[in-house]
């Protein structure tokens, strides 16, 4: 198989790791001292048949590209990636001549289900704006699986997504990682064993929400004092539980769901996903993380990440960015179109995100825009590498990169077959596979799921013309 070598971005002299190194300090693989997940995943892969997609232009998600490549999906996994692969009897063969294959797109920042369509108050469940610390709440308890946006996102090639609480609080609550399959229950979408995230927020939002009520915090320094006080309390809470765990005698400490979430961050079991725009605030938060010995998986929005790629790389923290959003608030005033490619070229982990029910349908297009903007100013990043911004790097942000995010044997068969180059505005996802099962097919109406909410809206059932 002719796999082209990775093209080093921008400068061969870039000595920094090309992607965030796996963060080890503070990681704890031992069982938690806290009770198990009260909302366990019931996700089961949909039925699938072994499938060989042949003769496609292949982007593996690991920086590699192959012309006339093949990929074999079997038992829900990527079984083989190569050239001239043979199909055993019983294998469904898809001729993909002229088409492209990428790993499924992963959106690490979505509010589908918690801010669903239609955007009416009764369905608006993303921000628990009653306390600046709501680390006790969980986005999965707000997710409405009938949000039609899950279906349109799937038609855009999104196979995995992280649903986050909003950014009105310092600690917004736990996120949930979902497989983008149609389901009546949220548990039925939960990505098995994906780590939880903790949504935190820098900057304008928390101080505006609480400052406008005459409450704490009302300034950036208030924001930071709020994080630090909470972490200090979490340290002592965690110590109490660890002490009890040693003997398991007497009454266990009283459970505090806020501190439990924070303690699990300190123990390395919950990943910090932090809304943060400005370079100086990201630097401050990295200091806070050092003080309390936790790791920030990613800064989300990060419109000024291009100012500090080396700092992000040194901390193993990814920047999660839009292609071109800017100017909608003061902390987004310095947004530029080259943010993603400059972060990548500066040695840090660059990731696209949507934060938007429309943008999530075209993350391939958003990635393409950012990629093109970088190359226009000479960053010379390969298309194969830019594909990582929407596949492998988001998987790293979520801590699921050993399972999905690239086309490597043994990984989940989360795959998109595109009608053409995914960086063209005219290309569409033709077939979307999750764990090897076709969950969307542009040519088969039976595989174009509609949510319950969409039924009856235009036809006679809705009072239309007879």
């Amino acid at each position: 198989m002719s796999i082209r070598p990775l093209v080093l971005a921008f400068s061969a002299a870039a000595v920094f790791a090309l992607c965030a190194p796996a963060f080890s300090a503070g990681q704890d693989d031992s069982p938690s001292e806290f009770p198990p997940d009260p909302f366990p995943s019931t996700y089961q892969p949909l039925p699938s048949v072994p499938t060989l997609i042949q003769h496609v232009t292949l982007y593996t998600g690991t920086g590699e590209e192959a012309d006339d490549g093949d990929v074999l999906l079997k038992d829900g996994k990527v079984a083989a990636v190569g050239k001239g692969l043979k199909a055993d009897p019983g294998v469904l063969v898809i001729d993909g001549t002229g088409k492209f294959v990428t790993p499924g797109i992963i959106d690490v920042h979505s509010h589908l289900g918690v801010y669903p369509s239609p955007a009416v108050d009764a369905l608006s469940d993303g921000n628990e704006l009653t306390n600046p610390n709501t680390a006790n709440v969980r986005a999965e308890n707000s997710v409405w699986p009938q949000d039609p946006g899950f279906n349109t996102a799937r038609a855009g090639g999104v196979t995995t997504l992280e649903i986050l609480p909003g950014s009105g609080n310092l600690f917004g609550g736990r996120s949930v990682v979902l497989k983008n399959v149609p389901s009546v229950t949220t548990e039925g979408m939960k990505f098995p064993d994906a780590p939880y995230g903790l949504k935190m927020a820098c900057g304008e939002n928390p101080k505006r929400v609480y400052g406008s009520k005459g409450q704490f915090p009302s300034t950036l320094m208030g924001d930071v004092a709020g994080y630090r006080q909470a972490w200090a309390e979490a340290q002592s809470y965690d110590a109490q539980w660890k002490a009890w765990e040693k003997t398991r005698t007497g009454t266990p400490p009283a459970r505090d769901l806020k501190l439990e979430t924070l303690a699990e961050v300190l123990n390395g079991r919950v990943r910090v996903q932090m809304h943060c725009y400005r370079a100086n605030e990201m630097a401050t938060m990295l200091d806070v993380a050092k003080e309390f010995h936790y790791h920030i998986a990613a800064f989300h929005h990060a419109v000024e990440a291009y100012k500090i790629p080396k700092l992000l790389a040194a901390n193993g923290t990814c920047a999660v960015m839009w292609a071109d959003w800017w100017g909608f608030k003061m902390e987004a005033w310095d947004g530029i179109r080259e943010n993603l490619p400059m972060v990548d070229a500066g040695g840090a982990c660059a990731t696209i995100h949507s934060d938007d029910q429309n943008g999530i349908q075209r993350l391939n297009q958003e990635t393409a825009k950012a990629w093109a903007a970088g190359n226009r100013v000479g960053l010379n990043i390969s298309e194969a590498r830019a594909i990582e911004w929407m596949t492998l790097n988001p998987a790293k942000v979520l801590g699921i990169d050993a399972k999905t995010g690239s086309l490597e044997p043994g990984k989940m068969a989360d795959v998109v077959l595109w009608t053409g180059n995914p960086f063209s505005v005219y290309s569409k996802a033709e077939k979307v596979f999750i764990d090897g099962a076709v969950v969307y097919d542009r040519d088969d109406p039976k595989l174009q799921p509609r949510s319950d909410f969409e039924l009856g809206k235009l036809g006679q059932a809705a009072g239309g013309a007879l």
Binding site: S11, A13, F328, D334, Q357, F423, V425, F453
Partner: protein
Amino acid sequence: MNRNYLYIALALAGLSAVPARADTYAITGGTVYTLGAAGKLEHATVIVRDGKIAAVGADVAIPADAKRIDATGKLVTPGIIDPESAFGLDEVDAVSQTQDGTLTSTRYTAAFDPTAGINPRSMVIPVNRIEGVTRAVVAPGSDSSVLQGRGSVISLDGVQGYVLKDPVALFVTLGEAGQKLAGGARGGALESLREAFEDAKDYGVNRAAYDKAGRRAYALSRPDLEALQPVLKGELPVVVQVDRASDIEAALALGAEFRLKLIVSGGAEAWMVVDELAKAKVPVILNPARDLPEAFESLGASFEDAARLQKAGVLIAFETGDSHKSWNVRQFGGIAVANGLPWIEAVKAMSLNPARIYGLDKNVGSLEAGKDADLVVWSGDPLELTTFADAVFIRGKLVPMVSRQTELRDRYLPYLKADAPALPPAYQRD
């Protein structure tokens, strides 16, 4: 020279470069989509002189004094016209001191015109014009009346003489927003408009009596009644913000009742009433990248809206609803093409059609001799994500490719190198 001064000089150049006298240019070798009678011209030359297009064609003579711009292998189209923007009225969305587009009082309704508050030095303008946006309709807003006010047309080329037509249209909102503004029912919103138009009619033929306080009380003030006079004569179009099919039908009925020159804006469900729109010859301004039922008034939103409207003969223009990234209309046009709209119709929907809808097409919207030289040389297909504007002309002037964003980028770009200085270069003394 101190480098900081250099930066300031560059910044000023980027913001207000209006050469005293426009040069003559010959744009040669490109594929020119004139959007006029000449159609598509291969290896054509466009001559730009005195702010106008002097000639377009394959065999035009190039004046000796013309500066040449080689467009070989590139595409040339008219500049993008944003049909509904907030340029100069909205600097930072969430900073209220930089907002001048929306009135929260009812002291003025139809008469409100935000044009006088436009800041042509807005940093949002260069960010967009270097991406090919050359002209825009600036629309008003109101938080307290369905009569939003009147908008204007501006050129994005400088700080003087940039208002090209004012007013260009009256803006009205119905649908869910109108229902809320009118006090909780769509019927109330429509009735308030009927009353306003009836009062304006009465006022129009009884001004003298009104001035002597000899007329009945009107719902609107004198300036508002005056503002409605050209509307009732069919001289000033009315842009109606509506998404739901039944709201569009109600707007069409109101338009017929008062003989208004209607333009529908929004139009998420316009495809469901496409025959009525075509019959009434009412154009639609839409964002073609909407397909979710984001509100109960847009349950029928569809990526195929644009294609269906165009096929039925409805004149369409594209908007993004976001002046900070108005240039993304190219991407949205591409999405419309991917969902059935012919390519050339998408190009028209961001240039020629907005000009036609607002009655500006005598001067702009196509590349024809005598028209204003608003045009873009694209590195490739303008609807593609990897294409950029290589050269932009506005009224014959070549736009410097500088914005606050490019200055930020260029300040930090060298800093990416491993051997870069500890501080970005801009912070160092020479």
